[in-house]
């Protein structure tokens, strides 16, 4: 049955068909504050005794809700039959109840809510502990205090503290041994049971946090995919990749200082929410547009393709990916190589991966789904590749410019025979074209602002599709500030003119990407 709990993301707008029941003395002000909604007052302290009267007054039948849903005397009871009617009535109006059926506790809204709370709680605990002991290392805080407390979800099967769990179980009158067994059963697939917080550093702790977060709020739960053992293994590979990505980003942003825990955690949250929303929306849209059993389809695709590092979102929409792009992607990924080796593919060279890919492709094509897309027509298209390259290049350049184009750079420019003032004059309009000022570059401490502006610039380009292709403008801009960016094999080389001593370092950065 699907009537017990409706929920809507965000706020709910009311109109003149809706009614508010409030204390009688608040009727006037309630009406003032909600001019388009009808208001009725009640006498008393709380509304609970009036809600059923309220509904009945308007001719609605009412039913009693228990802790886990409607209370039925039997399967023949009227309320049970009424629920069946509800589904039927919605179906008659064209609403596919199954399509919109998603338990709140398994929804991504709920998981995001929980993880944000966990992050907020971690921050709050961190601040509290830091206040008491300013010298306490962040790794220690996370290891000994924050994580065990945050992730002992009281009343659920996420309890890490078994003694505490035992107490709770006893309080609830639950057989603890059975409870413990159930806990282990539920924790093992989540990779939590072995989580002993042994990591002595922040990085290790963060990885554990990230791992748990990523596992728990996976889109598969939202889609109610039946997670098999093999699927679990595949997802671990994918999640490790994501964790690696988070770690790399965090390292790049130098977030490992003792006072940077909040930033790091916020970043994890931001990353996850963005990723989840993006993926979730795509899934849902596709599911609805296609009118197919998308969950089943996606599950089959994922099972085969996720181990190759090809994220689900690459397979949505009318996008095109070339075989060599996939090949390149696989060749550049150590984790995938490891996976291939572990799965008996000893020769992890391009040819072997390609044959594996061809084999995968054949298998995918065998899937009996009406709307199965050809592998050659799915994935990231050239625009996405160009865009990602731009993002990467911008990330490098941003950091590079912020660190190099400082007052010290003035000396360098003058040494190379250029006039600094003239140089700035020429630079100004170029920078203005991408929403920045010379001042942004002048001091290292403005690096964060600079990054924000660069990010904004990238975002703007995404919003305006035609500008995504405007890489030439960017190249020209950087050319004018002494940096050459050339396209080569779908990547970009970043060189500073006449500054050869940095070339090797920059090349190394590019290779790392």
């Amino acid at each position: 049955m699907r009537v017990a709990d409706f929920f809507v993301r965000g706020s709910a707008k009311l109109n003149n068909n809706d009614w508010i029941l409030c204390p009688q003395e608040e009727v006037e002000i309630m009406k003032e504050e909600n001019p388009n909604v009808n208001v009725i007052g009640y006498e008393g302290e709380n509304v609970i005794n009036y809600t059923n009267k309220f509904m009945k007054l308007f001719g609605y039948q009412t039913f009693t809700m228990g802790e886990h849903g409607y209370i039925h005397d039997s399967l023949e009871s009227y309320s049970f039959i009424w629920q069946k009617e509800y589904e039927k009535d919605l179906m008659n109006r064209g609403i596919n109840v199954n399509l919109f059926s998603n338990p709140h506790f398994l929804s991504w809204e709920k998981f995001i809510e929980m993880e944000l709370i966990n992050i907020d709680k971690t921050n709050a605990l961190y601040k509290l502990l830091k206040t008491k002991n300013p010298e306490i290392p962040i790794g220690e805080v996370l290891k000994t205090h924050c994580l065990p407390n945050i992730y002992s979800c009281k009343g659920t099967a996420c309890e890490l503290d078994y003694e505490n769990a035992k107490e709770q179980a006893i309080e609830k009158g639950v057989d603890f041994l059975k409870y413990q067994k159930q806990l282990r059963k539920e924790l093992v697939p989540l990779g939590i049971s072995d989580l002993q917080f042994e990591s002595q550093n922040f990085e290790g702790s963060m990885e554990q946090v990230s791992k748990r977060i990523l596992r728990n709020i996976s889109i598969e739960k939202f889609l109610e995919i039946d997670i098999t053992e093999q699927y679990e293994e595949d997802m671990v590979i994918t999640n490790i990749k994501r964790i690696k990505s988070i770690k790399e980003k965090m390292q790049n942003e130098k977030l490992y200082g003792d006072n940077e825990a909040e930033k790091a955690l916020e970043y994890v949250a931001e990353f996850l929410i963005q990723d989840l929303h993006e993926r979730g929306e795509l899934y849902k849209e596709q599911k609805e547009e296609d009118g197919i059993d998308w969950t089943n389809h996606q599950q089959k695709l994922d099972k085969m393709l996720l181990p190759l590092g090809l994220d689900c979102k690459y397979f949505l929409g009318d996008k095109h990916i070339k075989s060599e792009d996939i090949l390149q992607k696989m060749n550049n990924n150590d984790i995938i190589k490891d996976f291939m080796v572990q799965n008996g593919i000893q020769e992890v060279d391009g040819a072997d991966i390609l044959s594996k890919y061809v084999s995968m492709k054949e298998k995918v094509n065998e899937i009996e789904i009406q709307e199965t897309r050809e592998l050659d027509q799915i994935g990231k298209d050239a625009t996405d590749i160009a865009y990602e390259s731009c993002v990467k290049v911008n990330a490098i350049l941003t950091e590079y410019i912020a660190s190099e184009l400082t007052p010290q750079h003035k000396e360098y420019i003058e040494k190379t025979g250029k006039n600094w003032e003239q140089y700035l004059l020429e630079l100004k309009p170029k920078l203005s074209a991408i929403g920045m000022t010379i001042e942004d570059f002048m001091q290292v401490q403005n690096k964060n602002n600079l990054i924000k502006k660069m990010d904004k610039f990238i975002d703007n380009r995404v919003e305006q599709d035609e500008q995504v292709y405007d890489i030439n403008k960017l190249i020209e801009t950087y050319e004018n500030i002494g940096i050459t960016m050339t396209e080569a094999d779908k990547s970009y080389e970043v060189l500073e003119k006449s500054n050869q001593h940095d070339i090797e370092n920059e090349n190394q950065k590019i290779e790392e990407l």
């Binding site: 706020s11 409030c22 308007f58 802790e67 109006r93």
Partner: protein, 146 residues
Amino acid sequence: MADPTQQMKDKIEELNKKAGKKLTIDELIKSGELSNLTYEISCNRKGIDKYVLMHVTDYKPKDDKIRTVTEKNIKVKEETPFGEIEYRNRRDTTHFTVNSTVASHFFGNWDNKRYAVMSPLKNCLDEDKNELRFNESSRFFCKGIS
């Protein structure tokens, strides 16, 4: 039959006018003036007209909107072994029950709430898109737990 909500609204306004004040729900019921209309409406509730959404809360709706606790920036205080901490309530969803009032359970108590909002399910029906929506940007999801 005319729109039942409008009929009821008109009748309540008429009774308020007659009484010279805004009558409470108890006064309206006890007056007996609405019983015939209630009966008539209930007999005519068919299909999706039979369903109504109910939301109970401690927080006043404002600007014709039920806001989430996240939007209202509600803070939660919690005792830990190291002292009290405070953090934001991150629930960014609005919940309703259908033709019923939410029961208190392990994670929440609704016995002492001050406000109730009642919204006909029919108003959420977007027949063009075969969806249930509360406003343009949001979509309902239903939970199956019985």
